[in-house]
């Protein structure tokens, strides 16, 4: 049979044939009993090949995994950095600031001070912002933030600022003031340095001179704010230094930080869970929860959990251990679900704790 008629048949069944084509096909069909048979067979094939029912993927689990993947690919996206060069005059000025700072610390006592020499430090601020402090740097911050989150920096640091639109995050250096509404960035402000630079990888940051209050620039991705001298104003330019932030990705240096060592040696400190539970029709308890990681560097897997269940009088009825076989990326969470075999018990309370977790080696 001519290929032309197969095309016509397909067109006819799929509703693509125009009236002329329909006429032609029906004419061909009535020409011969063989043609009619062919038409019927083709029709039967067309009808038999039916769409199967749609399958239902697990949207929740897939989205969570996908999100983890997308965010893990992100790397660090938002960066600001400030650099400067020393002058003697500035050194003197800086030492005064330091003295003032210390006296403040003594009188108010509400500050934490972290200082580095030839090491890096990585730590959380009280608002869960994450700081990478470069070598020979100091960061001073209040033990509790008030209506503003102000920190004082000498040297260089990378800030991953927790978003909080009501409480702006402000970094003061000896000559500049940087205001952010929630992003991450790197700031270089070595004491006495003449030239200050601020690099933004993404986000929106306001960079201003302390000397000249009204002098400010708003910086976006890949832009750099420069303060050449405290008597000059701040200026905006393209970031021309692709290695500006490299220090904070130095794996070997990061591995020496307390944070890294702690995450590695005691995973359970950095994992926590939120959950709720309900009973199914055969009185089994179904626990559904989220497992969060507060780690900065370490990825965990095979998280062993323990669920204990109690009677209305608080008497422990039993416990079960289960493992969440998912990869828990730093700072992210996974969902889990577990069914207890407690249908013989009258469970009134369920508690879930994290027993142990494995570190995913790089």
């Amino acid at each position: 049979m001519d290929a032309k008629y197969w095309e016509l048949l397909a067109k006819y069944f799929s509703g693509e044939a125009n009236s002329e084509e329909q006429k032609e096909l029906l004419g061909w069909r009535s020409q011969h009993a063989e043609n009619d048979k062919m038409f019927k067979q083709a029709e039967e094939v067309w009808i038999s090949i039916k769409k199967k029912e749609d399958r239902n993927p697990d949207i929740e689990l897939t989205w969570e995994a996908l999100k983890n993947k997308m965010l893990a690919d992100e790397g660090e996206a938002k960066i600001i950095s400030i650099k400067s060069k020393k002058t003697k005059w500035y050194l003197a000025a800086a030492s005064i600031i330091v003295v003032l700072g210390i006296s403040l610390l003594i009188t108010q006592g509400g500050y934490e001070r972290i200082a580095t020499t030839d090491n890096l430090e990585v730590f959380y601020l009280p608002d869960s912002s994450i700081i990478y402090l470069n070598k020979n740097s100091k960061l001073k911050y209040p033990k509790e933030f008030g209506t503003e989150r102000i920190v004082y920096l000498e040297g260089e640091a990378y800030f991953k600022v927790k978003r909080d639109t009501l409480r702006p995050f402000i970094i003061e250096t000896e000559s500049t003031r940087t205001k952010v509404l929630g992003t991450s960035f790197d700031l270089k402000a070595y004491e006495g340095n003449e030239k200050m630079q601020l690099v933004v990888e993404s986000g929106e940051v306001e960079f201003s001179s302390k000397e000249i209050e009204s002098n400010k620039v708003v910086l976006h991705k890949d832009e750099m704010g420069v303060l050449k001298h405290k008597d000059n104003g701040v200026m905006k330019q393209k970031n021309d230094d692709p290695n500006f932030m490299n220090w904070k990705n130095d794996k070997e240096e990061l591995k020496k930080t307390k944070q890294y060592k702690n995450e590695y040696s005691s995973p359970t400190t950095y994992l926590y869970t939120q959950y709720n539970w309900k009973e199914n029709i055969i009185k089994q308890t179904i626990i559904e929860g989220r497992l969060h990681s507060a780690a900065i560097f370490t990825t965990y897997k095979n998280v062993k959990m323990r669920a204990s269940y109690y009677s209305s009088h608080g008497k422990k009825l039993g416990e079960e251990e289960f493992t969440v076989n998912k990869t828990v990326y730093p700072g992210l969470f996974v969902y889990y679900k577990y069914k207890l075999n407690n249908w013989l018990e009258d469970t009134k309370e369920v508690r879930v704790e994290i027993v142990e977790a494995k570190v995913v080696e790089e």
Partner: protein
């Protein structure tokens, strides 16, 4: 993800994902006939969109783009995995409200499997075109746009598909074949009641 821009991008892609993931997987699955592969293909696509989000602008207007990309990704997958696949899994059908004799059900399943196999034997592009027409109810012109082929190609590939499918399935569609399990059933029913 503390940033405003990234946050709204993330929310947009989440919306896009939630609204389209299921049907995209099903479209791709009909072409590649491998559910796990279909999910992989679609997820890969979302990752790509995420990476290109600055050029693409993640909006709901991306929907058309999504389906086009999915069809092409499925086609690529087929072309890269040309080996003939055995079908270990047959979609479970809800038969609770149908009272059918086991043997009939078996025939039905067997027949569905034959169809799947016949479809899988089609050349990738031919199969994709047929699947988009028959299962997704797409117009020829839409298919042509989706797969970047000419309307003429869609027309002749549809013809080829139908011909091959009919040749392949001929032994099972001679009309009587579909009826005889029912006849047997009727016969056994008669015999049992004698």
């Amino acid at each position: 993800m503390d940033m405003e821009a990234s946050n709204s991008d993330l929310q947009n892609i989440e919306k896009l994902f939630r609204e389209n993931y299921k049907s995209l997987c099903n479209v791709v699955n009909r072409i590649v006939h491998d559910w796990d592969a279909a999910e992989d293909v679609v997820q890969e696509m979302f990752i790509k969109i995420w990476k290109k989000r600055n050029e693409l602008k993640i909006e709901t207007t991306l929907k058309g783009y999504l389906y086009k990309a999915a069809s092409n990704a499925a086609l690529n997958y087929l072309e890269n995995n040309k080996r003939f696949k055995l079908h270990q899994e047959i979609t479970e059908k809800n038969t609770a409200n149908q009272i059918i004799d086991e043997s009939v059900k078996l025939e039905q399943k067997e027949f569905e499997e034959r169809i799947d196999r016949a479809l899988d034997k089609l050349p990738p592009k031919c199969k994709a075109i047929f699947v988009l027409s028959r299962f997704e109810g797409m117009k020829y012109q839409e298919i042509a746009n989706h797969l970047d082929v000419s309307l003429k190609t869609v027309e002749n590939q549809m013809g080829i598909a139908l011909q091959k499918l009919r040749d392949d399935l001929k032994p099972y569609i001679s009309g009587e074949f579909m009826l005889w399990p029912l006849l047997l059933l009727a016969l056994s029913y008669l015999l049992m009641n004698i």
